[in-house]
């Protein structure tokens, strides 16, 4: 009876639940790396050929490609991590990334897993009293399994807010 249709459907559901949980755990670790400003750890969550962009919904909806951050591979992501950590001048701040509403959207022909999740970034500047909503948007993702690890082959961060509050000093 092990491979009855019911059992197979159950297996698929369990697999999907496990994957869902795995992706959530990935996003939690991703948020923690950014919250703690461990940008090298953040960069290591991408595949070598990963595409990473932070783009306004205004541009995305109109089919315009300009992004606040536009990385075509992991080398560019590592350059970003280096620049934000070692060269960029910006006021000190705390950031809190909250990721939720994860949805799995299917599989690419090459096996990449398509997913999306909502995100918010809250920013606290050391010289201003309040925590402010810095970004609200959606991650459109392609995850790839590499050995026993998941990595991002693509993350498009599409933010809804029309205006960036002064500057985006750390990745999303």
């Amino acid at each position: 009876m092990l491979d009855s249709p019911n059992a197979m459907a159950n297996d698929r559901r369990i697999e999907a639940l496990l994957l869902h949980r795995e992706l959530e755990e990935f996003n939690n670790a991703y948020a923690a790396a950014l919250d703690e400003q461990r940008l090298n750890d953040w960069a290591e969550m991408f595949t070598d050929d990963a595409f990473y962009v932070v783009i306004s919904r205004e541009n995305a909806d109109r089919g315009m490609p300009v992004g606040l951050i536009y990385c075509e591979n992991k080398a560019m992501i590592l350059d970003r991590a280096f620049a934000h950590t070692k060269t960029a001048m910006f006021a000190p701040r705390y950031l809190r990334h909250i990721v939720g509403n994860l949805q799995m959207l299917g599989e690419e022909p090459n096996g990449d897993i398509r997913a999306r999740a909502n995100y918010v970034v809250v920013q606290v500047l050391f010289d201003r009293p309040d925590a402010k909503l810095h970004q609200v948007g959606v991650y459109y993702d392609k995850f790839r399994r590499s050995g026993d690890q998941l990595k991002l082959a693509e993350r498009r961060c599409v933010y809804d807010n029309l205006l960036v509050d002064n500057a985006l000093c750390l990745p999303v």
Binding site: G67, Y70, M76, R80, T87, D127, A167
Partner: protein, 417 residues
């Protein structure tokens, strides 16, 4: 001052000494800001409002601003470009709410007063009332109640508007030297819009001009450029101003980091030998312009910056919202002949600029720091003394503030302060 009476004689608005010191009230005073809107943004100036490529077809429109004032830029059926206030003549409602779109007419949603694509009032519901009662006065003539229309000009695909009907031509407004640099970037190729950046900036709008008339900061603040040996004091450069002092062009030519002198390296705390980018394509320069400069930043008074940072191109529009804050709208573009690889190159190089750019984010932060420093310090002044050999005007050294002094020479004249 017209709005608060007696500003001219008030010691509060006294300029401290000469142009080498700027008083903080220039950046922090509400009455000064209101006078700027009246005399500068609504005065005899050409304000950039759009690229023609944003409204290519009849009926296309975008929302834009002249100073803080919302306007609509629309292309009419006869292909003319029209700029009018986004404010219904009836009850002042800001009727156009879409960022951009295509329309046959504009209908104010409140009482459905209707305007054509040139801003003419063409419809007033129940104008004659109902059953002989109510309605507009019998002598009300819609044609006398068009939206407030601005004078419009377009140069090489860039659209400008002015509240002054008698303003000089755009070419005369720029002067020959700045016009030449403008036309080096807008070289006649058709523009292709690649997208926008929009951000707020908690500083006075003039600080953005000053930052791009201050070549001194480029080698000191922008550690990224210096770390990777990309821009240094030894580079060939020019800080150009027009005869009036209001416009400027900061220009530099890319050179090899190996050419930097030991002295220069010592002055730049952040210079690090041997560091390279993992993906060095970011700094590739495709020499596509008829110009000796690989980078030019043109500040076109009062609201436009033309960015030609190697191959990442854009216009930035300043929208002031008060003395302490402004909004920047960037429109990034390439050219219609660009192939996929060239478009990618422009997007990749775009990482330098914008509110998350390696350089751009630092400029925004620095301007905020300056505004923070000027608030809550009564009667403060600060220094723009670099390069006394050039009192005000074009400088051929990066270590100069002569272009900022030139801008304030003009500003004081325009503001009568």
């Amino acid at each position: 001052m017209t709005s608060n009476g007696g500003a001219e004689t008030s010691p509060r608005y006294a300029w401290p000494d000469d142009l080498t010191m700027i008083p903080d009230w220039v950046y922090t005073d509400q009455a000064v800001y209101e006078r700027e809107v009246e005399r500068i943004f609504h005065g005899r100036t050409w304000n950039c409002v759009a690229l023609e490529a944003e409204i290519p077809n009849a009926g296309d429109f975008i929302r834009s601003h002249v100073g803080p004032t919302p306007v609509v830029v629309a292309r009419a059926k006869d292909d003319s470009i029209n700029v009018f206030e986004n404010r219904c003549v009836h009850r002042a409602s800001e009727f156009c709410r879409e960022l951009s779109g295509t329309a046959n007419e504009f209908v104010c949603p409140y009482h459905q007063w209707t305007y054509d694509l040139k801003g003419n009032l063409i419809g007033v519901p129940f104008r004659r009332g109902v059953g002989g009662k109510g309605g507009m006065p019998a002598d009300f003539k819609p044609l006398e109640h068009s939206l407030r229309r601005l004078k419009v000009t377009s140069h090489r695909g860039v659209v400008f508007a002015s509240y002054a009907d008698d303003i000089e031509s755009f070419a005369d407004y720029l002067g020959p030297d700045v016009l030449r640099e403008f036309e080096a970037t807008f070289d006649g190729r058709k523009l292709k819009v690649l997208g926008h950046y929009r951000h707020s900036l908690p500083g006075n709008w003039k600080l953005y001009h000053e930052n791009l008339k201050d070549p001194y900061h480029a080698t000191l603040l922008h550690t990224f450029l210096v770390t990777f040996g990309l821009l240094v004091v030894g580079n060939r450069s020019l800080m150009l101003t027009d005869a009036s002092g209001r416009h400027g062009v900061m220009a530099s030519a890319k050179s090899d980091a190996k050419a930097i002198s030991g002295d220069a390296k010592k002055e730049m705390r952040s210079f690090k030998e041997g560091l390279t980018l993992r993906d060095s394509r970011l700094m590739d320069f495709v020499d596509e312009f008829d110009s000796p400069w690989s980078v030019t930043m043109a500040t076109i008074w009062p609201n436009l910056i033309v960015q030609r940072e190697m191959n990442t191109l854009g216009i930035r529009q300043i929208v002031p919202t008060g003395p302490h804050e402004f909004i920047m709208k960037w429109t990034m573009f390439g050219f219609e002949g660009d192939d996929e690889a060239m478009t990618r190159h422009r997007l990749r190089q775009g990482n330098l600029m914008g509110p998350a750019g390696y350089l751009g984010l630092e400029d925004n932060e620095a301007i905020k720091f300056v505004q923070d420093g000027m608030q809550h310090v009564p009667s403060g002044t600060h220094l723009v003394k670099l390069d006394p050999q050039t009192p005000a005007g074009t400088a051929d050294t990066l270590i100069s503030e002569a272009a900022i002094r030139a801008m304030y020479k003009h500003w004081r004249h325009a503001m009568d302060l």
